[in-house]
């Protein structure tokens, strides 16, 4: 029996964590995602499933608690917002190097620095290119609705364990703070039996010692480990690309946008269609792996692409690489905590269409 609730995106993440059978959450409050920790505390997650909820003394402590707990093979997560996620980067790099599964949620706010508390999407580079030091990637999921905030928690855990990789849910202040209907999935019991082959759970006589570390002083061994990581990321790029297309079939111009910007572009798409303009929306759901092939395949039929992101233009670089510059691609976005309106986005698209038409004359 589906359970329909009206929830904030942040609350949906927290409820989904309990229902997905998460074993532990370690975090530190920061706007605009404090409701996640607050909800887990108020709901008494520990009483409901035995899930451990701990407010750490800082983001550094939280991510290192995640590192430690994830070594035991349990479902572990944390959440923060931009400045807090920056503080966690060292730990995330270690976790990626040590190949541990975990779920990290970033409800992005305006930056740089302490920035502002209003929504932003300016953490794209940090999220999809690594973030900390070294050659590593995270799987990055970009929810565009409260429903997806809920759905991507179990999906995120599944992917994290499938590839033993940290998964990042890259959200923003809009999706975190807004309320929408959400269809909650049934409670999944916390796992009692799971793959113990690599975990640190106390060595028994019948298995060799497991070691979890990101350190290897032998350069050749470390290179081998890096090859292994890169092969894993290749596999993820082959298997895990997710995206949604809206009115793209006959489109001559498309928006490419994720998260809150995708919702705003959906409205702009509708407004453009009302004016008879052949506009569509391509929404990457995974930002790593980025839907490169899909965008390349589509680009042949297109006159231009408008990348819309609450940033100065980050995803546009991946779009230009994906299309190999064979179609005109531009960026539009307000940033620093300002949200672009549907009309502004539509106007940017109309200007792009005009510039293409003039070019043809």
């Amino acid at each position: 029996m589906p359970e329909l609730k009206l929830m904030k995106g942040n609350e949906a993440i927290a409820e989904a964590a309990i229902r997905a059978g998460a074993d532990g959450y370690f975090g530190y409050p920061i706007t605009p995602q404090s409701e996640i920790l607050e909800y887990l505390m108020v709901e008494d997650a520990h009483k409901r499933t035995g899930m451990v909820i701990l407010q750490a003394e800082s983001e550094l402590a939280a991510i290192n608690m995640v590192y430690g707990a994830a070594c035991t093979g349990k479902k572990i997560m944390t959440s923060s917002s931009s400045p807090g996620i920056s503080l966690m980067q060292e730990g995330i790099s270690y976790i990626a190097g040590a190949e541990l599964p975990c779920l990290i949620v970033n409800v992005v706010r305006g930056g740089p620095g302490l920035g502002t508390i209003q929504p932003s999407q300016a953490d794209y580079f940090q999220s999809v290119k690594g973030g900390g030091h070294g050659d590593y990637r995270l799987i990055v999921l970009a929810p565009a609705s409260v429903q997806e905030m809920s759905d991507f928690v179990p999906l995120g855990f599944d992917l994290a364990f499938k590839y033993r990789i940290p998964v990042l849910i890259l959200s923003d202040g809009v999706i975190g703070q807004m309320m929408e209907k959400v269809d909650l999935f049934d409670q999944v019991p916390r796992a009692t039996e799971f793959d113990q082959s690599w975990v640190l759970s106390g060595k028994t006589h019948d298995r060799p010692k497991n070691t979890i570390t990101s350190l290897d002083l032998e350069a050749l061994d470390m290179e081998k480990h890096n090859h292994h990581l890169q092969a894993k990321y290749k596999l993820i790029e082959q298997n895990e690309v997710r995206y949604e297309e809206i009115l793209c079939d006959d489109a001559e111009f498309i928006f490419i946008a994720y998260g809150a910007s995708a919702r705003i572009c959906q409205k702009a798409t509708q407004l453009a269609r009302d004016k008879g303009l052949k506009v569509g929306l391509f929404r990457p759901i995974t930002l790593f792996p980025f839907p490169k092939k899909e965008i390349f395949a589509r680009s042949e039929k297109l006159k231009a692409i408008l990348s819309v992101e609450m940033s100065a233009g980050q995803m546009i670089e991946d779009i230009q690489l994906a299309t190999k510059f064979r179609v005109k691609s531009e960026h539009f976005g307000r940033y620093g905590g300002v949200i672009h309106s549907p009309s502004e986005v539509l106007e940017a698209m109309e200007n792009l269409i005009k510039s293409c038409d003039n070019g043809n004359k």
Binding site: L6, I117, Q118, Q177, M178, M179, E180, K181, I264, P342
Partner: protein, 182 residues
């Protein structure tokens, strides 16, 4: 049918909770709903606003820059949002503290003296429900029974004894709302 609403006023006037009740009410009527607050530092003592969308279809953008209806509870919000109402749209405002009155000719303007009525009824806290009643009278998309269900969903059980009082305030708002330009 899609109704795009902005509710704006001072922090503490019950702007966000009125929006929440409206969203819950729409949900009780099987509508699609979204509720997007301004959550900036302006909330503390300054202006607060929330965008509520009720629709029979899937809602695309929770962020809007023009509205079918604006429910306005202070001067700053009136100045800011009156120009953003769609032609033919609705402006509902409480006239307490308003010195620069709305002047657009291409929208329908309604006034509800909710601040005054709430103190007359000695129920200052139900001020926002008087305004909600006025809105429901003008735009009867959501049935009163669903609004009462919405209030029950929105309020924690320890406050459920206030539902009859809220009901009275909504009815009162329906009675006292007046159209200014016909």
């Amino acid at each position: 049918m899609t109704e795009e609403i902005i509710i704006a006023g001072f922090g503490g006037q019950g702007v966000l909770s009125m929006g929440k009740i409206l969203a819950y009410s729409g949900m009780m009527q099987d509508m699609e709903v979204s509720w997007m607050p301004s959550y900036g530092p302006e909330m503390r003592g300054g202006t607060a606003n929330v965008t509520v969308i009720l629709s029979t279809d899937r809602i695309n953008s929770p962020i809007l820059n023009e509205f079918d209806t604006a429910i306005i509870l202070n001067q700053q919000s009136l100045d800011k949002f009156e120009p953003l109402i769609k032609p033919g749209g609705i402006l509902l405002y409480d006239n307490s503290g308003i010195t620069r009155f709305p002047g657009r000719k291409d929208i329908k303007i309604y006034c509800v003296e909710a601040t005054e009525e709430a103190s007359r009824m000695s129920m200052v806290k139900t001020f926002n429900m008087i305004v909600l009643g006025a809105y429901l009278k003008i735009q009867p998309f959501v049935k009163l029974e669903n609004v009462l269900k919405g209030i029950a969903k929105s309020l924690p059980p320890r406050h459920h004894h206030t539902i009859p009082m809220n009901n009275d305030a909504i009815i009162r708002g329906m009675e006292i709302v007046t159209q200014e330009n016909k």
